[in-house]
C-alpha cells in the first residue's frame, strides 16, 4: 500500500446507483487494504524449466552459475541486437502462406494493426519453421514506431484466445523499418494473437501499440 487511498467518489462518480455503490465500496475497501501488487520481474517472465522435474539454478544456491533465466534475458537482448534494416513486406493480408500449425518449411504471415496509441505504426510477422524442441522462428518487421531512449524497450506478447500466454522478447527500433528475429517457444495456432507494448519504466508498461 502506498498510504494514499484513492477517493471512491473520484473513481466511481457520485451518481451511482446505491446498490452498485455499496458493492463497489466493498471492493474499494478490499483493494485499499490489499498488499501492493508488484510487477513481475523480468527474471520471472518465463516459467521454470520443469521437464524431467529439473530445477533451474536459483539465486545464491549455486555460486558461479548465472541467476535463473539470465540466459533468456541475454537471448532477448540478442533479439534486439539482431534487428536489421529490411523493407517492410507490407502490412496487409493476414495469412499469406500456409495455415498455422505446420512444421518444417511451412510459414505464414500475420498483419499487426496500430492502436490509437501508435496510429502511424505497422508491422507484419513472418512465422517460420518450428524446430524439434518446439521453438518457432518468428521475424517481426515493424515500421514507424518511435525510437526509444536508452533503457526503454518494446515487448512482443503472445496471446491465445485473448489470454496472455507470455512474452516473446523485447526489442528496440530504428527510424523507418526494423526487422527483429524472435524465438517463440509456445504453441502457435489459429487462436494465437500478438501484441506489442512499450516498457515505459522498469516493470511498467504503456498502452498497447500494435495488435493482430
Amino acid at each position: 500500500m502506498t498510504g494514499k487511498i484513492p477517493d471512491i467518489d473520484e473513481l466511481i462518480g457520485a451518481e451511482t446507483d446505491p446498490q452498485e455503490r455499496e458493492r463497489l465500496t466493498r471492493l474499494h475497501r478490499t483493494l485499499a487494504g490489499t498488499e501492493p501488487f508488484p510487477e513481475l520481474p523480468s527474471s520471472l517472465k518465463r516459467p521454470p524449466v520443469v521437464d524431467g522435474v529439473r530445477r533451474l539454478p536459483l539465486a545464491g544456491r549455486a555460486p558461479g552459475l548465472p541467476r535463473a533465466w539470465r540466459g533468456q534475458r541475454q537471448r532477448r537482448a540478442a533479439f534486439a541486437a539482431a534487428a536489421a534494416s529490411v523493407a517492410l513486406a507490407g502490412a496487409g493480408g493476414a495469412y499469406l502462406a500456409t495455415a498455422p500449425g505446420g512444421t518444417g518449411g511451412d510459414s505464414w504471415r500475420v498483419a499487426m494493426h496500430a492502436t490509437p496509441a501508435a496510429p502511424d505504426a505497422a508491422a507484419t510477422l513472418l512465422v517460420g519453421s518450428r524446430d524439434h524442441a518446439g521453438n518457432w522462428a518468428v521475424t517481426l518487421s515493424v515500421r514507424d514506431l518511435p525510437r526509444l531512449p536508452a533503457g526503454s524497450y518494446y515487448e512482443m506478447l503472445l496471446t491465445r484466445r485473448g489470454r496472455l500466454v507470455g512474452s516473446c522478447g523485447t526489442f528496440r527500433v530504428d527510424t523507418g523499418t526494423t526487422v527483429v528475429h524472435l524465438n517463440v517457444p509456445y504453441k502457435l495456432n489459429e487462436s494465437s494473437g500478438w501484441l506489442i507494448r512499450r516498457e515505459v519504466s522498469p516493470g511498467r508498461f504503456g498502452p498497447l501499440l500494435l495488435r493482430t
Partner: protein, 185 residues
C-alpha cells in the same frame, strides 16, 4: 478465482498432471505475478521472492496430479501450495541466517494467528489474481490508483489519455473486479 472458459484452472491442473507443458506455461502466465506478490509481501526480499516463486511452480508441476476438483477450487489448491512453499522458503532462509547469529530471544509478535493470516492471504491472492486478469487498459489505471498512489488526473497525464477515458476505464475495471470477486468481498 473460477475460470469458466475452456482453459479453466482445474483443466490446466489436470493437463499439467499429464505433463502438458503448454498448460503449465498458461497457468504460470495466469498466476506468476500473483504468486510473486504473495512471496514478496511475506518475504520482503526480491531475490528470495523470485526464488520462492520458482519453487512454487516447480511444486505445482510435481504435484498437479494430486489435485482433486471435488475437494475444492483449483485456485485454492494453488494458493495452499504457494503459501506453504513460501513459508518453507522463509523458514529455510531464517535457519541459514540464524545459524550465523547469537541465540537472541524470539520477539513477541502481534501478527494475526495462522488461520486469520491464511484467510487474509487468500483474499489478497484472489484480488491480485482478479486484477491480473483485467484487460490491460483497465488494469493499469486501477493499479496506479490503488497501489501507485496516483490521482485520476495524474494517471491521465502518465498514460497520455484524456481524463474521461481514464475514469471510464477505471470504473469499468472496478465493476469487472466486483463481479469476479463476488463471494469473496
Amino acid at each position: 478465482m473460477l475460470h469458466v472458459v475452456s482453459d479453466s484452472d482445474a483443466d490446466l491442473l489436470g493437463r499439467i498432471g499429464d505433463r502438458d507443458r503448454s498448460a503449465f506455461e498458461l497457468l504460470y502466465q495466469r498466476y506468476a505475478r500473483t504468486v510473486y506478490a504473495m512471496a514478496i509481501n511475506k518475504l520482503r526480499d526480491k531475490g528470495h521472492a523470485e526464488d520462492a516463486t520458482q519453487e512454487v511452480f516447480v511444486a505445482v508441476w510435481r504435484h498437479a496430479g494430486t489435485y482433486a476438483p471435488e475437494r475444492g477450487v483449483a485456485a485454492r489448491w494453488l494458493f495452499t501450495i504457494a503459501r506453504n512453499t513460501v513459508i518453507d522458503h522463509g523458514r529455510a532462509t531464517r535457519r541459514v541466517r540464524d545459524a550465523s547469529q547469537d541465540d537472541a530471544p524470539e520477539p513477541v509478535s502481534d501478527a494475526p494467528g495462522p488461520a486469520e493470516a491464511a484467510e487474509e492471504g487468500w483474499t489478497s491472492f484472489c484480488v491480485h489474481a482478479a486484477v491480473s486478469e483485467l484487460p490491460e487498459r483497465e488494469r493499469v489505471p486501477v493499479e496506479l490508483a490503488y497501489w501507485g498512489g496516483r490521482s485520476q488526473s495524474e494517471i491521465a497525464d502518465l498514460l497520455g489519455l484524456p481524463l474521461g477515458t481514464v475514469k471510464t476505464r477505471t470504473r469499468t475495471g472496478l465493476a469487472r473486479l466486483a463481479l469476479q470477486l463476488e463471494g469473496i468481498l
